[in-house]
Symmetry: C3
Subunit: 342 residues, 3 copies
């Protein structure tokens, strides 16, 4: 695809070479994200960070990524403050807001809303999550994390074995990630969920058609024995229509250090899209994993910054000018000496 | 008037020459708003964008205008987060907040509040809307749009014929615009509204005293036959105390392409202060007008950016330095090649 | 203490020499706060301004202070938009958010929360107020104001006589300020409050152990006769469990110009942490004091900007580079000609 001026709406728009381009660009952003260098390549540019649904981490991640490239951010952080409540169409909102910035990130509670908005926008739009539909930057940062974690172990995404655990029926993160994994060769995906919360058949079929080795399981322990990555997601009790099934599975998909030690390979990487529920009755990943060096959940969010910087740089066509406008960092930098959270 | 360091509180403070100065300054801002050039003239300056009432579009427009001149924006986006709720006076709030920025934009739900605030502020204050009282930048951007649209047709504001349609009783936008129109010669204004929602007598009288030819109508079709501009505004059903009158007029002031073709001149310009209600039972301007090149409603909001940039530049006395601090744009610009939304 | 990379969590971490360092750095920030010069020393740096509790003035003050040093600000302005509501631990939130910025300011409704957050953060954290526990920058700006006001009168903090008035039991501002005052010699503190709202015994004892001359009073007039500073705070009626005591004291701690003239020395300085309740039944400081040149309440908030700039500069180790990256101001500056609000 041609990134310049393009909307980023769904993972379906990416071919393998496009993903490769995003990832190599993300790699080149690391010195700036780690504040070893600063760049002013987007000085004067404005991001319209339009979050019509509350989200601190994703909103701030997009905003910081744009700031790290030297640009300014104007934003909205909730639905209530919008003309949408006065009956304005998304198309009108897009025509108005796209006059105020050079690129727009948008989150909105309704499926398909961001694509509708993009159609009327005069500037590129990046989907920050539209209802239960798409959240492409999350899928890209997840796959980018998988790639980096495997690279440290001398492997790559081709040949990957991954277990995806939790509510696979409703998790848009998982749905998008499976689409991206289908672009690679020799991938084995083990799906681990309560029966009622299984991955939709259509998605399973698409993966198999693309050559992915898909295995369907409903028990945790045996499913994580021989995998490179354990990707855990939240199970919300209210998702079960069948109360008895909810009782049957309660606590059965929690991963903690004891289970990890007993069943996983020594280097199995643990991922989660966050936030992780840390209340004692709801832990999908136990806090006792925090000292496990293979817990990659905070490296995931750090990588999100790199991937979002890369998308901005590609869409605004400045990827090859970032260094030219770079300079030294003046201030004390707590993280300069090491790789992100390593 | 002397713009340097002045508050912008009401359209009544402007003479013809002041309006001319705002407009010629706004013209000079176009290369920056279109991102053909960037300027850093306000680098280091801070706008306090104090919206004590929700408004995405106006708030972001002011903020982006300041960013486009190179300045930074600090803001608040709702009443609840304010010390005002703890009984602090507006004067105290002004003394405090005016220490944090170089210029303040303020919206507040109470009539007269922004003027009270300005009196105690140590920096210039621009009124972003105070209740049903004033919204001077909207009136200026409307008149600026009229001027530009007429200029494209070889005309100017002197001699203008405009139809103003909708709820003329409550619309602060219309009230302020009539004041500005009164500064020009040979203007004819046709007021079209339900009887109960007519423009207040005092305003009609002021216009006539200023030499405006005012015509009062209660039916749409014949009123738009011979005008340069149709300026439509929203009619909210709850504004009628008389339910029978509401029924009588329901849908009677909607403009769509069929009515436009039948009654308007081929080049009649269509304006609206936005947001436009696009729900099928409430369209004041039908979506089927969207392909009509004379629909200027999105050019209005784009022009708002130019007018707000101009006011900042005049109040902070940098209008003649904008170019000196300008530079090339580094990034891909979706709108560089054409005039705004044309 | 070594400021570089340090968290600023409590006034208890400061020794006399540390306070002196903050204050001399704050002094050096005045040309930038007064917009006589601009500096870009923190260009490219990002502040994460994380307010998980509403606060316009403190939030904007921190943000403006960072902008004045040339940095960018990403922020959140309320609890509702946070993953915390989904059961995420403060530690997880800290690990995530500290990847997005170079330094974090945080306000949170729970006592001790900011320290917990800081422990997991990878960047320095400045406490912007955690429940009823600590608000160290307020205490520092109060003491900095005392120092400046006394300096104008040829005095210094050693030998200070101050009356603290109002709800001394619950006011975190007063508690923190007493700790800082205990670092100085020859200080006399007169505590004036309703009996039920007295300063906790433990704090009185700590002050006396540190050599402070503490006097406890329950009546206003005689307590303010021979002091350099009157420091007034709010009394909220709902703080009294004893309704009769509330009735007994109602209005008895208000200071107005008549009382000031009758009892105070001609140069006694009046302070208040703001916001001041200006409703007629609740005035702790009457509006008729507004023309009194010794009313320092707005100089306090202006000084807050200097103190916060100083803390950022010290924590990020750029205090000695601010001038090197400075430049002239391009725009009209309403306050350039005089000292802040003097």
């Amino acid at each position: 695809m041609n990134f310049t001026g393009a909307h980023i709406l769904t993972v379906s728009q990416f071919q393998r070479e496009d993903v490769d381009r995003v990832f190599s660009t993300a790699d080149s952003m690391e010195p700036y994200a780690l504040r070893k260098r600063v760049t002013r390549v987007l000085e004067g540019a404005i991001l319209g960070n339009m979050f019509f649904e509350a989200s601190t981490r994703t909103r701030v991640s997009f905003g910081s990524a744009f700031n790290l490239l030297g640009g300014e951010v104007r934003e909205t952080a909730g639905f209530e403050s919008s003309a949408l409540v006065k009956g304005e169409s998304l198309q009108d909102t897009a025509r108005v807001l796209s006059g105020f910035s050079d690129v727009i990130c948008m989150r909105h509670p309704e499926d398909g809303s961001v694509a509708d908005f993009a159609e009327a926008s005069r500037v590129p739009v990046i989907n920050g999550g539209d209802g239960s539909n798409e959240h492409p930057t999350q899928a890209l940062l997840d796959l980018y994390t998988i790639r980096r974690e495997l690279l440290d172990k001398g492997k790559n995404i081709n040949g990957l074995s991954i277990a995806m655990i939790g509510d696979l029926r409703h998790g848009r993160t998982v749905h998008s990630l499976t689409k991206l994994l289908s672009l690679y060769d020799g991938v084995r995906v083990t799906l681990v969920s309560p029966r009622e919360l299984s991955l939709p058949d259509g998605i399973v079929e698409s993966m198999r058609n693309a050559g992915v080795d898909v295995r369907i399981r409903h028990e945790l322990a045996k499913s994580i024995v021989d995998v490179d990555i354990v990707y855990s997601t939240r199970i919300q009790e209210e998702r079960f229509s069948n109360k008895q099934e909810a009782d049957l599975y309660r606590g059965k998909f929690r991963l903690n250090q004891a289970i990890y030690t007993q069943y996983c390979q020594p280097n199995t990487v643990i991922m989660h899209p966050l936030p992780r529920d840390s209340r004692s009755d709801a832990n999908e990943l136990d806090n006792d994993l925090d000292d496990n060096p293979n817990l990659a959940i905070f490296r995931q969010t750090d990588n999100g910054l790199l991937v979002r910087m890369a998308l901005f740089a590609l869409v605004l066509d400045v990827a090859d000018k970032v260094e030219k406008f770079s300079a030294d960092v003046n201030w004390y930098n707590s993280r300069q000496s090491s790789k992100i959270t390593r």
